[in-house]
C-alpha cells in the first residue's frame, strides 16, 4: 500500500514539475517580451543590428519562405496522398516503398536538411542564399507531415461515398474532385496548418539556405532572415539584443499558437462531421 502511495506522490510531483517548468518558460517570455511588443515593433525595420527598431522585413521574409514552402509542398503532397489512398492498394510494393521513404525523410535531422539545401538548392541549382532556397528546403522537410495527414484525411472519408459514386458511373477523378476532396478538406487544411507550424519553428535548416540578411527582400532570389533565425542571431551574436529577441520569441510563439488552434479546431470539426455522416 505504501508503494502505491509513493507512486501516486511521485507521479503527481513529476507532472507538477513539468507544468511548472512550462509556465516558467512561458511567463518568462511573456514578462520580458510583452513590454516591447507594439505596432511599431511589427511595422518598423530593425536598426543597429536588431538591438532597436522592429521586425517588419523579418516577418515579410518569414511569410515569403513559408509561401514558397507551402506552394511547392502542398500540391506534391496532396497528389502523393491521393495516390496512396485512392489509387494503390494499401499493401502494394510501390505504396510501401513510398511510405517507407517518407518515414525516413521524417526522421532526417533539420541540420542535415540545411546541409542538403545548401549543397543542392544554393550551389547545385545556383539559387544562392535566397528565400527560394530556404522555402524549397522547408518544402522537403514538411512533405512527410503533409502527406501523412492528407492520407489519413482521405482514408477517413466514408467508403459509402466511393461505392455510391461508382454505382452512379462517376469516374474516379470526378468522385475525387466532387466528393472525396471536399469531404476531406478540413483534414487537409489541418495538416497544412501542422506543416506551417513546423516550418515556422524551423531554424537550423534556414541558416545556410535563406541566410541572415535583415533587409526587406525585393524578390524571392534575395536572402531573407526568418523570425527564428532572427531570435538566434540576436541572442548569440548581438550583445544587447535580448529585449528584442524576447519580443520576437513572443511573436513567434503567438503565431504558432494561432496556427495550432486553427489546426485543432479544424480537426475537431472534421471529426465531428465524419461522425454524423458515417
Amino acid at each position: 500500500m505504501t508503494k502505491n502511495t509513493l507512486a501516486t506522490g511521485l507521479i503527481w510531483l513529476a507532472s507538477i514539475l513539468v507544468s511548472g517548468v512550462f509556465f516558467w518558460l512561458l511567463s518568462d517570455i511573456l514578462i520580458h517580451g510583452l513590454p516591447h511588443l507594439s505596432w511599431s515593433f511589427l511595422a518598423d525595420a530593425p536598426k543597429n543590428a536588431g538591438r532597436s527598431g522592429g521586425i517588419a522585413p523579418i516577418i515579410v521574409s518569414t511569410l515569403l519562405i513559408l509561401a514558397v514552402a507551402m506552394v511547392t509542398a502542398a500540391p506534391l503532397s496532396l497528389a502523393t496522398a491521393v495516390l496512396l489512398s485512392e489509387f494503390t492498394r494499401y499493401d502494394s510494393v510501390f505504396g510501401r516503398l513510398v511510405r517507407r521513404s517518407l518515414d525516413v525523410l521524417a526522421g532526417v535531422p533539420s541540420i542535415v536538411f540545411g546541409l542538403f539545401g545548401n549543397a543542392f538548392f544554393c550551389i547545385y541549382l545556383d539559387l544562392g542564399f535566397s528565400i527560394l532556397s530556404g522555402g524549397l528546403t522547408l518544402a522537403c522537410m514538411v512533405l512527410p507531415i503533409l502527406i501523412r495527414t492528407a492520407e489519413e484525411g482521405l482514408q477517413a472519408t466514408p467508403n459509402d461515398y466511393r461505392l455510391a459514386a461508382a454505382a452512379l458511373g462517376m469516374s474516379r477523378s470526378a468522385a475525387l474532385v466532387h466528393l472525396l476532396l471536399p469531404t476531406a478538406t478540413p483534414a487537409l487544411v489541418a495538416g497544412l496548418m501542422l506543416g506551417i507550424g513546423r516550418a515556422v519553428a524551423e531554424t537550423a535548416a534556414l541558416i545556410f539556405t535563406s541566410g541572415y540578411v535583415d533587409r526587406m527582400p525585393d524578390s524571392l532570389f534575395d536572402s531573407g532572415r526568418a523570425l527564428s533565425v532572427h531570435i538566434y542571431d540576436l541572442s548569440m551574436n548581438v550583445a544587447g539584443g535580448d529585449a528584442n529577441a524576447y519580443s520576437s520569441a513572443l511573436v513567434l510563439i503567438l503565431i504558432l499558437l494561432i496556427i495550432n488552434s486553427i489546426a485543432m479546431s479544424l480537426a475537431k470539426h472534421w471529426l465531428h462531421r465524419s461522425d454524423v455522416t458515417v
Binding site: I11, L102, I111, A119, A201, A204, Y232, L257
Partner: protein, 284 residues
C-alpha cells in the same frame, strides 16, 4: 473495376508526384555523399577518431569530442525525459481527474510545439546563468541536457500515452477484478503491455535529441573539448556543423558533410529500430 482513360492519366500523373516525393530522401543521401566524397576518398574513417585534434584546415579531423558531447547530452536527456515523460503519460491516463488530464495533455502538446530556438534562447538567458551561479561558466553540458530534456519530453509522453491507450481494456478490468492497487495495476499490467510502444517512443526521442541543433548550440558553450564533467562547455556534432558551415571551404566543408552523414545514419538506425518495435504485435 477498370479505370477510365482520364483516370489512368490522373493515376500516372499522381504516380510521378509520389515518385518525386519518395526520391527526395535519396537525393539528400546522394548530395551528402557527393559533398563529403573529397574527404572520404583520401581520409581513412579511423582518422576521425585517431587524429590529434579538430583542425580541419590543417587536415586534422578528430571528431571524438563532438561525438562524445552528442552522446552524453543525448544520454542525459533520455535518462531524465524517460521517467518524467512516462510519469506524465501515467498521470493523464490513470491519475488526473478527466478535466485536468485534458488540460495536461494539451500542455504537453503545446510544449511539443515550442520552437527549438525559443528553448535555446530561454536556456541561454535563464537556465545558463542559474547553472553559472552554481559553477561557472553556466553554458555547459548540464544546460544542454536540461534543455534537451524539455524538448524530447513531449515525444516520450505522447507516445507512451498512445501506447497506454492501446492496452486492451480487458487487461485492466482483469487486474481490477483481482483487486490490484492502482500502482499494482500500472506496474504489473499496463506498463508491461505498453512496453514496446514506450521503448519505440524513447528511441524516437533519442533520435530527436541527437539531431537537435539550435537549443544545444545556444546553451552548451561550443568549446571543442572532451567533456569531463557536467559543468564543462561542449560542442555537439550538430552545433559544430551550424557554427562552421558559414565559413568552411574545401576539405573542411567536406568534413562537415561527413559528420552530417554520420548524424543521418545514426538517426535512421534509431528511427528504424523504433519502427520495428512499434510494429511488433504486442497484444494478442
Amino acid at each position: 473495376m477498370s479505370l477510365s482513360r482520364a483516370d489512368r492519366q490522373l493515376a500516372t500523373l499522381l504516380r510521378g508526384c509520389a515518385l518525386l516525393a519518395a526520391a527526395i530522401v535519396l537525393l539528400i543521401l546522394l548530395f551528402l555523399v557527393k559533398e563529403s566524397w573529397p574527404v572520404l576518398r583520401h581520409v581513412a574513417l579511423i582518422r576521425f577518431v585517431s587524429d590529434a585534434s579538430w583542425h580541419p584546415v590543417d587536415g586534422l579531423y578528430k571528431l571524438t569530442p563532438m561525438l562524445s558531447a552528442t552522446f552524453y547530452s543525448t544520454l542525459g536527456a533520455v535518462l531524465l525525459a524517460t521517467p518524467l515523460g512516462v510519469a506524465s503519460a501515467l498521470f493523464s491516463r490513470y491519475y488526473a481527474p478527466p478535466f485536468l488530464a485534458g488540460c495536461y495533455r494539451r500542455l504537453i502538446e503545446l510544449l511539443a510545439g515550442i520552437p527549438s530556438v525559443v528553448y535555446g534562447f530561454w536556456g541561454l538567458i535563464t537556465l545558463a546563468p542559474l547553472i553559472g551561479n552554481l559553477h561557472p561558466p553556466g553554458v555547459s553540458l548540464l544546460a544542454g541536457i536540461l534543455v534537451l530534456t524539455l524538448m524530447i519530453l513531449p515525444t516520450v509522453a505522447l507516445t507512451a500515452d498512445a501506447a497506454l491507450a492501446a492496452v486492451p481494456i480487458a487487461y485492466l478490468r482483469g487486474a481490477a477484478a483481482l483487486g490490484l492497487s492502482r500502482w499494482g495495476l500500472i506496474s504489473g499490467v499496463a506498463l508491461p503491455a505498453a512496453r514496446s510502444g514506450i521503448i519505440a517512443g524513447i528511441m524516437l526521442a533519442a533520435g530527436r535529441a541527437i539531431g537537435e541543433t539550435m537549443a544545444v548550440l545556444m546553451v552548451a558553450g561550443n568549446v571543442v573539448q572532451q567533456p569531463l564533467g557536467l559543468f564543462d562547455s561542449v560542442r555537439t556534432l550538430t552545433a559544430n556543423i551550424a557554427l562552421e558551415m558559414a565559413y568552411a571551404t574545401g576539405d573542411h566543408r567536406a568534413a562537415l558533410f561527413v559528420s552530417g552523414l554520420a548524424l543521418m545514419s545514426t538517426v535512421l538506425v534509431l528511427v528504424g529500430t523504433a519502427e520495428l518495435l512499434a510494429r511488433e504485435p504486442h497484444h494478442d
